[in-house]
């Protein structure tokens, strides 16, 4: 149990430290929206981690589906694509037991989301 927690904690740190910025960052109209989206992302990442621990495939599917549909609109195409890949992977499995098989898609998405919030913090530091 302890070992698993450590592994999880290490996994949750972003793999890269490159921040992701919205492609609409320079758009005046979008500033407030991007801020809103990124803060929502923070909440989603926490909820998704929990859902993963609980092997709640349905909840993860909902997250993936919604992110796939909305992230590009906020200028985060990479997040949208990764969410799409996670959703497809989820659709291919038939029981929560198979979740471990799609862990890399899951981690990829989480990683991108965390890098987006990093990106936003750096932006607002300027």
């Amino acid at each position: 149990m302890y070992d698993q927690e450590v592994v999880l904690a290490m996994e949750q740190r972003p793999k890269h430290t490159e921040a992701i910025l919205s492609s609409f960052s320079d758009d005046e109209e979008m500033r407030e929206l991007i801020e809103y989206f990124v803060s929502e992302l923070g909440t989603k990442v926490r909820d998704m981690s929990q859902a993963w621990e609980q092997a709640n495939a349905d909840q993860i599917r909902v997250f993936a589906h919604q992110l796939k549909g909305s992230a590009s609109g906020y200028g985060f195409d990479s997040i949208g694509s990764a969410a799409g890949r996670l959703e497809s992977a989820l659709n291919a499995i038939s029981s929560p037991d198979e979740l471990s098989g799609i862990e890399s898609q899951f981690r990829e998405l989480l990683d991108l989301c965390q890098r987006a919030s990093l990106g936003f913090q750096r932006e607002s530091d300027q």
């Binding site: 109209e29 589906h65 919604q66 549909g69 609109g73």
Partner: protein
């Protein structure tokens, strides 16, 4: 000028978005600001339907995968609702298979945009759907309006009479019906030609339009026959309105035939709320009054107060 419910809406078209994701609401609210629309967002289909039934949306944007009422069910419900049936619908969904699109289009959707969408494309498709809505409105108006006089046509009269009589049978209230028939109209056509006849019809329609009140409905009922539905109006008040029309027409001078005046006979059947009479028989009573006016010498009114002749007590006695 009479309130013929001007076909072109001056206010911004109302667009109703139904999507369980608030993230989409916020994105579209900001991104569609540049469009001349009023966007209202709902997370649930039930609430959106309730709202739509009391307002006149110009367009629906529907997500498909939603908890509770999904997009397809919402689509069916919209098409089942007479007041919403003609409103264009754009599906906005993360589902992108051809099957999903076929289902949506066959259920009546006008367009299908997959998420994630390009905002410029969404804007363009919204504009296209709103153009469609405008055309549909004009068509529906045209189908209900008489080409020559600009008054509502007989079909619209029938519909409106049904709803007015239905309303007072539920809620009570005053209602009067006037039938107007031009005197010796055939001889105007025969003597001065059809263009002269058309001019007379158009002039009477214009006079009616100027004389009636906002709540009244003036219709072309037949070739040379007109009708006015007057809600919240008893027989006395209805007579006053019609007398102004009769007088106005009699006083008119006609450049094409200055030696020939034009007059109208009018039959009125009204109730202050106590009449027990079915809609069809009501029209018959107005028609009888019209006949009486013609046979009484033309260029006059004849009125019946239905409360006196068809009051509930009499109905019970029958």
């Amino acid at each position: 000028m009479t309130d013929l419910q001007t076909p072109i809406e001056d206010s911004k078209p109302l667009v109703v978005l139904v999507d369980d994701s608030v993230v989409i609401h916020r994105l579209l609210t900001t991104r569609l600001r540049s469009e001349s629309i009023e966007l209202v967002c709902f997370e649930s289909g039930e609430k959106a339907l309730e709202f739509a039934q009391d307002h006149s949306p110009a367009l629906f944007l529907l997500d498909i995968e939603m908890p509770g009422m999904d997009g397809y069910t919402m689509l069916r419900r919209i098409k089942d609702e007479p007041s919403l049936r003609e409103v264009p619908i754009i599906m906005l969904s993360g589902l992108s298979s051809a099957d999903d699109k076929v289902v949506a289009f066959d259920l009546g959707a006008n367009d299908f945009i997959t998420k994630p969408f390009e905002i410029a494309e969404l804007r363009a498709r919204i504009r296209a759907a709103l153009r469609l809505h405008s055309l549909l409105q004009m068509l529906s108006q045209r189908a209900q309006v008489d080409g020559l006089t600009g008054l509502w046509n007989r079909a619209h009269f029938d519909e409106h009479w049904r709803s007015e009589t239905s309303r007072i049978s539920r809620h009570g209230g005053e209602l009067s019906l006037a039938l107007l028939d031009l005197d010796n109209f055939k001889s105007i056509n025969d003597t001065y030609g059809h263009p002269a006849g058309d001019e007379v019809l158009a002039a009477l329609a214009k006079l009616m339009g100027k004389t009636i009140r906002r709540s009244d409905l003036a219709c072309r009922y037949g070739g040379e026959e007109f009708a006015i539905i007057m809600p919240e109006t008893g027989p006395t008040e209805a007579s006053a309105v019609c007398e102004r029309i009769r007088e106005g027409l009699e006083a008119m001078r006609w450049p094409r035939h200055p030696e020939r005046e034009v007059t109208v006979s009018i039959g009125i059947a009204g109730s202050a709320g106590n009449a027990a009479i079915d809609p069809g028989k009501w029209i018959v009573q107005a028609d009888k009054q019209l006949y009486a006016a013609k046979h009484g010498g033309r260029n006059r009114l004849s009125v019946i107060n239905l409360d006196e002749t068809h009051g509930p007590r009499l109905a019970d006695a029958g």
